[in-house]
């Protein structure tokens, strides 16, 4: 078997692929955070909990009602989006005039509640469901065996990230959203229902997290705390690359590489990179000093 630096090439590519899969989730979650932060000015600490919620909705509907994976892929984001809308309407909207720190604290409390309730019912043990039949199996790419589902996750997250970018930067709706970020009062004066737009934006960001959760579940175990640690990594990704950049994929890859060559550090490599980036470029890799 071929080796690179003493590591079998199969194992290397396998870990890189897993890194890329994780990176896809980082990218999707940081995108949802960015969409929400852009319009609401809220750093959504509950994002990890919503991601977990998406995974549980999928697991529950597949396990109990025998729903197919593809319907779950639709149902998960829908339910999480609705929960998001409800949270925004009842709680978050009371905080818009205050320091953004309060938004962070409120969503932190919400994350505690959501995770606590799921821990109550499902303990800390994991549930899992398998990838759909169409995506089971693997493809031999010559240099590595690619599990089809993982390839699907990476491709789908790229499509979703690009789609969201297109929606925000290139469409009428996106223009309204961006205008609402700059000057909500003026946009309101033009006859746009800004509060509704805000609610839909939070629901949309939450739905993205839910979608990531549904997609993640066949790869990793579904546990009540699956999002609580992930959200911290995603925060670090956001600090490095700014809100909503594709840099998450690169960081996922780096994490995969670390897992091969220095497994002890794979949990912390992203934070390490964050510290270095902050020392060299305080505004983040692509940020501009204000």
């Amino acid at each position: 078997m071929t080796e690179i630096f003493g590591v079998p090439i199969q194992a290397l590519f396998g870990q890189l692929m897993l890194g890329l899969v994780n990176g896809s989730f980082y990218a999707m979650l940081s995108l949802g955070l960015a969409v929400i932060f852009g319009l609401l000015g809220v750093v959504n600490f509950a994002h990890g909990a919503l991601y977990m919620l998406g995974a549980y909705v999928a697991w529950f509907s597949m396990d109990r009602w025998g729903v197919s994976y593809w319907w779950a892929l639709l149902l998960g984001p829908l339910v999480v989006g609705l929960v998001g809308a409800l949270l925004e309407r009842t709680l978050l909207k009371r905080l818009y005039k205050l320091d953004p720190l309060y938004g962070l604290l409120l969503t932190f409390g919400l994350a505690l509640i959501i995770q606590g309730v799921f821990q109550q019912y499902y303990g800390s043990s994991g549930q899992s469901y398998s990838a759909p039949e169409q995506l089971s199996g693997a493809t031999n790419l010559g240099f590595m065996i690619l599990p089809n589902y993982r390839g699907f996750v990476v491709a789908a997250s790229l499509v979703i990230c690009f789609g969201t970018w297109f929606l925000i930067e290139r469409t009428q709706l996106g223009a309204l959203l961006r205008a609402g970020t700059e000057n909500p009062a003026l946009v309101q004066a033009f006859g746009v229902n800004v509060p509704l737009m805000v609610t839909l934006t939070y629901a949309g960001g939450a739905a993205l997290a839910g979608l990531a959760g549904v997609m993640a579940a066949p790869v990793i175990q579904v546990t009540p705390l699956m999002g609580s640690n992930l959200i911290i990594v995603v925060f670090a990704v956001v600090v490095i690359g700014g809100m909503g950049s594709i840099i998450g994929l690169v960081l996922g890859l780096l994490e995969g590489l670390t897992r091969v060559f220095y497994p002890e550090a794979s949990n912390v490599v992203v934070f390490f990179i964050m510290a270095i980036v902050l020392m060299i470029r305080p505004a983040g890799l692509f940020g501009r000093e204000k």
Binding site: L105, G109, V268, M274, A275
Partner: protein, 319 residues
Amino acid sequence: MSWLGQGVDRAGKIAWIVALALLVIAPFVGVYPIFIAQALCFAIFAMAFNLLLGYTGLLSFGHAAFFGGAAYVTAWLLQEKHLTPELALLGGVAAAGLTGLVIGAIAIRRQGIYFAMVTLALAYMLSFFFLEASFTGGENGIQGVERGKLFGLFSLEGDLAMYFFALAVFVAVFLLVLRIVHSPYGQVLKAIRENEPRAISLGYNVDRYKLLAFVLSASIAGLGGALKVLVLHLATLQDVRWEQSGEVILMTLLGGLGTFAGPVVGAFTVVGLQNYLSDRAGSWTGVIIGCIFVACVVAFRKGVVGELLAWHKRRAKKA
């Protein structure tokens, strides 16, 4: 002690003296001293946090790293190096201060919400370090730590002796924080909180002020954690976890952000509540804490002490 008077009116002073008197007699009227001593440790932790958020406007989401980190160092110094408790405490505080210097220097390069995210991420990274490091005992933590003899003379093994030592440390920290807040340095911190660009344009090296505030806050938080080792005989992973960072935020917020008594009231409330709930609500405790968090942010942002002060002010105006 004229500085003690600044910003503290007569009613406030009387309230503090009454509170101190209550704390002194509490163990003699049937309150379990170790329980109050533990609450005092968290009160020190919350005062340290309040110094940073309440008076400087910096939200650190990683303060558990200093609290729990100092606890590990102190426990290790006591158990493996057989130092006397006061030296072990100092060791823990120094470790927390140094960690604070490193994390602070990195984190103050970003403002506002990003500052919170950076501190959270770095503290999370440290918690991995504490989990993996050989001296911390991994998932088990360091258990059965003996309190030893203060200055090599007075044994702290008795609960009452321990309690009064903790109370003395608490009072010292209280006076220290009061002194910091009312010093010219503290005034600059408040200026930074209110309007950072303006403080810069007045010629203050804002980053140095912020960093010093961060190191001070980290050291005091460390003292709280180190003292907790003496009180409870153990240092655990629980204390460095980010949930603990969240808890100290809750204590400060619930008691009253930027008020003097707030963090103390908040710490006693949360520790008491957890104690009460752990028997009755079991694993629902986390959910209930989360609900209180949400309620505080949505409807009760001034906190207990903040509301009391506002009520006092309104009454004074009427009269």
